[in-house]
């Protein structure tokens, strides 16, 4: 079997390790790993689905555009959780480690370790796309903050609103922000 066929045959094992390691990045991950109900467990199931699709696309040498949807399923979530940027995108790169673990554990597949360069490059490309996506998600967060500030209460309470002006008069100082 060549590398791709081997990876396909070990799909279940690789995905299981990869998903578990990714979900281990949450403090209390038992439920995230256990529940397969997409609506009861959105983090666990979306990450599982996203990583599984990504793995299949990597094996089929799919173009970058096809990675985007499954990557989004994973990165959009991690971009708003308490991770550093590196921790948020790390799961993608960790596939390299997982694949090596699985291949080296089987004496029949150990020889394939030296053939991983091209697959590693594909993973790198996906990781770079993940980094772009992370940045886009963060920018979107800040845009949302700005939109709320512009459309919301600040303008009414603290600028032209007569009651705000009256309050300033009473206290004889501008409100602190």
């Amino acid at each position: 079997m060549n590398l791709i066929e081997t990876l396909k045959s070990k799909r279940k094992q690789i995905l299981s390790t990869w998903v578990d390691r990714t979900l281990d990045s949450y403090v209390s991950s038992g439920f995230f790993k256990r529940s397969r109900d997409k609506f009861a467990n959105p983090v666990g199931v979306n990450i599982r689905e996203g990583l599984s699709s990504l793995f299949d696309l990597l094996l089929s040498k799919a173009p970058r555009e096809e990675y985007l949807a499954p990557l989004d399923q994973v990165i959009r979530i991690r971009a708003v959780q308490e991770f550093t940027p590196a921790q948020a995108v790390a799961p993608i790169l960790e596939l390299k480690w997982v694949v090596r673990q699985v291949l080296s554990a089987d004496k029949n597949t150990r020889h394939l370790l030296s053939e991983l360069d091209s697959f590693d490059c594909d993973i790198d490309r996906a990781a770079l796309a993940a980094f772009d996506m992370y940045t886009a998600c963060r920018e979107q967060l800040y845009e949302n903050r700005i939109r709320e500030l512009k459309s919301g209460s600040y303008i009414l309470t603290d600028s032209g609103c007569p009651s705000s002006l009256a309050r300033r008069g009473i206290q004889d100082k501008p409100p602190v922000h």
Partner: protein
Amino acid sequence: MAVVKVDKLARSVVEGPSLMTGSIPTKPWMEIPVKFKPGNYAYTTKPDILKYLDSQQGVSFPNAREWNPEDDDWKLPENWKEIIINGLADRLDRFRSLKIFMDCCVRCGACADKCHFFLGTGDPKNMPVLRAELLRSVYRNDFTLAGKLLGKMAGAREMTVGVLKEWFMYAYQCTECRRCSVFCPYGIDTAEITMMLRELLHLVGCGINWAMEPVANSNRTGNHMGLTPQAFKGNIDFLCEDIENLTGVKVNPTFNRKGAEILFITPSADVFAEPGLFTCMGYLLLFEAIGLDYTWSTYASEGGNFGLFTSNEMMKKLNGKMYAEAKRLGVKWILGGECGHMWRVVHQYMNTMNGPADFLEVPRSPITGTVFENAKATKMVHISEFTADLIKNGKITLDKSRNSHVKATWHDSCNTARAMGLLEEPRYILDHVVDQWWEMPENTIREKTFCCGSGTALNTDEIMELRMRAGLPRANAVRYVHEKHGVNHLGCVCAIDRATLTTLMNYWVPEVTVCGLSELVGNALVIEGEQRQELDEGLRTLV
């Protein structure tokens, strides 16, 4: 800082342990301190706001000061611990429910995976049982024999500054949505535990500005935004002009009119901010279409009651204002707009706090004659109950094709769904105003609905990340119906929802627009003598 060479880094990725280390707990939860950093806490109350509130009758908000959760020193009063323990003793004495909730949890775990904050973070302290345990551990230590004798072995711990900080962190990572309570075999209302935590924190001057400034404004001018009567009326007049431009219908609402049959109260967000404005236009059109004898009040100009997120006394005072105004104007009953927590306060607390409202009459629709027996105690009817009754009795004409741009799904707002059981009326209305709408999956709707993630005054921008992860379970279900059925509108009956779900959708499912139910009614409403333009996007159409 050491510079890591690229080749070494690459090796560490393929050979080394995870880059994502550090999350798996190695210590018991009690020993893991909270860490405040930008994005995970809401800004603290401005001292001038707190001083103003503390000066008001019937409420107490002491210890105003500048402080920052990120600092080690929170500038607590010297006897802070005594204040907290005495405050807890006082509340255990006053609120029997609190005492029961402290004692009866068997830690079965049914609630653990039901909280949207837990589901979005994986943080065990966001499991409702553990969030309650933050308070329960102190209760055991100071108020139970087992705790006094056995201490930690009985799950007890001493009140420390670290515990107080934990309270502040997690009392403001709960939106009091009460989804967990649906699954609790004992019916423990975790929202009330959060309410108690927040009350205790207020005793030592620890609160968030996004709750307290609206409270102060409501106390002063009657609404969250601090709008004066003139500004409030001006905004509605402006909406009336828009309605006339769009539909050719001239709407003439009245304000503070004594002798009107009905007082209409809605969240002030309906009057001043998108997308609530369109919902407000819906109300105005509906009332015009049926010739309702009603008045707005520029004093009871807020349905929302952030007192619910602050303290019992504050909630009572803000709720009392609505009834005081109803009495002053001499109306028969109150009609309430699309608000979430206003309805929780009205249904669960009003009657014992400010009732009985025996100066009002049991609400009876002047158009259909229906008597709203369900509102016998509160004398307040929800706009969806009122509208559904109009439709059922054939009193309004609706043209669904005017909502042909809408493929809707329905978000049950936590407070109206779980606190007042408003489940069928909105669905009945939707059936009559849009061609097609789809339910989200069963475990995300009705009593099991997921919160928007930004309720209880957490709808502030500085915790945007927190809001987005807490709202993920809701957004995830919306994305499902969007992908499966092409849903492009998310309907709801809550002002906070309308504002915060809009932001939530922008992040998670940008193809979906958030709208109020009365907006969809307004879109579809056929009014005699109207000269309606081609409104491709209903009342939102720019003409």
